[in-house]
């Protein structure tokens, strides 16, 4: 069996990165860097729980990892180590450090929270935002741009690109936009597109949600 040394898992409210390896630290660092680069800017702003397993890491090494994360726009929220492999005293200023008995990390260890991020710009073609909570865009979403949220998507402008609400499975999620005219609209595992021909998008805010197993678009009434 092939085991990966760096495993990244999505979880509610953030991601867990597990560094579970017998490899030397430089190799591990390189692998982490590669893996995050491959993920692109998909995770910018996301909080990270780092699980270093039973490795013995010095303060310097942890700072190195933190720098790699920061480069990719990630914030280290919590550090988990198994069997006291990280010395608590020497790690002041590195954020929350937790020593756990050597066991697998359960998803519940990351607090579930409906967090929201605000994007104060127009998303253009090729730009992609992913966030496990809600996403609010103060601007437009142009064709070719993607907004993918674990929760709801709100666009204070024109939604012309791809919107995916409830990307982690929530069928209660909605997409709201001042002008809802998406190329493609997804909620949970439903995928829809506009009918062929002229767009029938009105001038009023609309909301897309799942009703009776179908994606329905209605005027937004508050």
């Amino acid at each position: 069996m092939i085991t990966e040394d760096v495993v990244i898992r999505e979880s509610q409210g953030g991601i867990i990165i597990c560094l579970d390896s017998q490899d030397s630290f430089p190799t591990l660092k390189q692998q982490l860097s590669n893996k995050l680069t491959a993920l692109d800017d998909l995770l910018v702003g996301v909080q990270v729980v780092l699980d270093v397993g039973q490795q013995k890491l010095s303060k310097r090494e942890i700072q190195d990892i933190k720098n790699i994360l920061l480069e990719k726009g990630l914030h280290l929220k919590k550090l988990i180590s198994r069997g006291k492999s990280v010395d608590l005293k020497s790690n002041e200023g590195l954020g929350e450090v937790v020593n756990l008995p050597p066991a697998r990390l359960s998803e519940q260890e990351i607090q579930s929270s409906e967090e929201t991020i605000l994007i104060k710009r127009t998303l253009r073609s090729g730009q992609k935002v992913f966030f496990p909570g809600n996403i609010v865009v103060l601007g437009d979403v142009n064709p070719g741009a993607e907004v993918i949220a674990g929760g709801n998507v709100l666009v204070m402008g024109s939604m012309r690109g791809l919107a995916h609400a409830g990307a982690l499975g929530s069928e209660q999620a909605v997409v709201v936009a001042f002008r809802l005219n998406p190329t493609q609209l997804r909620i949970a595992n439903h995928i829809t597109r506009a009918p062929e021909g002229q767009s029938t998008c009105g001038n009023d805010p609309e909301v897309a949600s799942i009703k009776g197993g179908k994606v329905v678009i209605e005027d937004l009434k508050l």
Partner: protein, 267 residues
């Protein structure tokens, strides 16, 4: 029988690679062949827009080569023609997301299923270009009658030959017969003389191409389009027929002009 992989390339941007791919793909399907168009312009994809299939994209070429998505799941069936498929590029990734080796395997796979695999190459000669040509059996070089375009096309032919592609054919796009006649535009002979590759076809400048591109309907579907006619002829040549060149008759003739006016009026 195995199909052919043809890469459509130019070096220079904006000369009509994507338009050519869309039109040849559609025209070949109209001739009854099974065609797949592969957009390799990762990060700046357009072929889906030109084909009017943008809103059907769920998976793309990067998902296929790296994400374990089956080819069948990513192929988009054209909404008008049976036997025409599109494999879209990713918009949020970079060219390096695909390697030439992966592209080669992909083309091998597609060749088994289709008569023609048309690969739409990005502008430039970097990684995107290397990816696009890596699985190709033949190449179509698109050039417009401008010195800069011919210069770039020449560079491209050189690179294609270096990569072991022997069958490289030229499409001269957006030629303006009147300007050529006046001597204000490079003529076809000059271009062939410099590039010394076989001429596959000449496509006249035609405003209807812009209209059809914006509508997401290739010009070959419009029977009255001159560029569409040129592309249909090129497709028949690719299909192995002997077809005469579209006459670049500079004077249109009164009768034809009248016919065209009537057609325009009735539309």
């Amino acid at each position: 029988m195995k199909g052919k992989v043809i890469v459509i390339t130019s070096g220079k941007g904006g000369v009509g690679k994507t338009t050519t791919t869309a039109n040849l793909g559609t025209a070949l399907t109209m001739l009854g062949r099974r065609v797949v168009m592969v957009d390799t312009d990762i990060g700046l994809r357009n072929l889906d827009v030109v084909m009017g299939l943008e809103n059907r994209i769920v998976f793309d070429i990067v998902d296929v080569v790296t994400g374990g998505i089956k080819l069948k799941q990513a192929l988009i069936k054209d909404k008008r023609f049976e036997g025409l498929y599109l494999l879209p590029a990713a918009q949020t990734k970079e060219k390096t997301a695909v390697s030439p080796h992966q592209m080669k395997n992909l083309c091998q796979e597609l060749k088994k299923e289709f008569d023609f695999v048309l690969v739409d190459c990005p502008a430039g000669i970097e990684q995107g270009f290397k990816n696009a040509i890596s699985g190709a059996d033949e190449a179509i070089v698109v050039a417009v009658p401008e010195v800069s375009s011919v210069r770039d096309a020449d560079r491209i032919v050189g690179l294609l030959e270096a990569a072991g592609l022997r069958k490289n054919q030229l499409i001269i796009n957006r030629i303006r017969p009147r300007m050529v006649k006046r001597g204000d535009m490079m003529d076809i002979e000059d271009m062939i003389d410099i590039l010394s590759v076989d001429l596959l076809g000449v496509v006249p400048e035609d405003e209807s191409v812009i209209v059809s591109t914006n509508r997401g309907e290739p010009a070959v579907m419009d029977a009255s389009s001159r560029a569409g006619d040129a592309y249909r002829r090129i497709a028949r040549r690719l299909n192995g027929e002997e077809v005469t060149m579209l006459p670049l008759d500079y004077s249109e003739g009164l009768v034809n002009k009248f016919k065209r006016m009537l057609k325009l009026a009735s539309r």
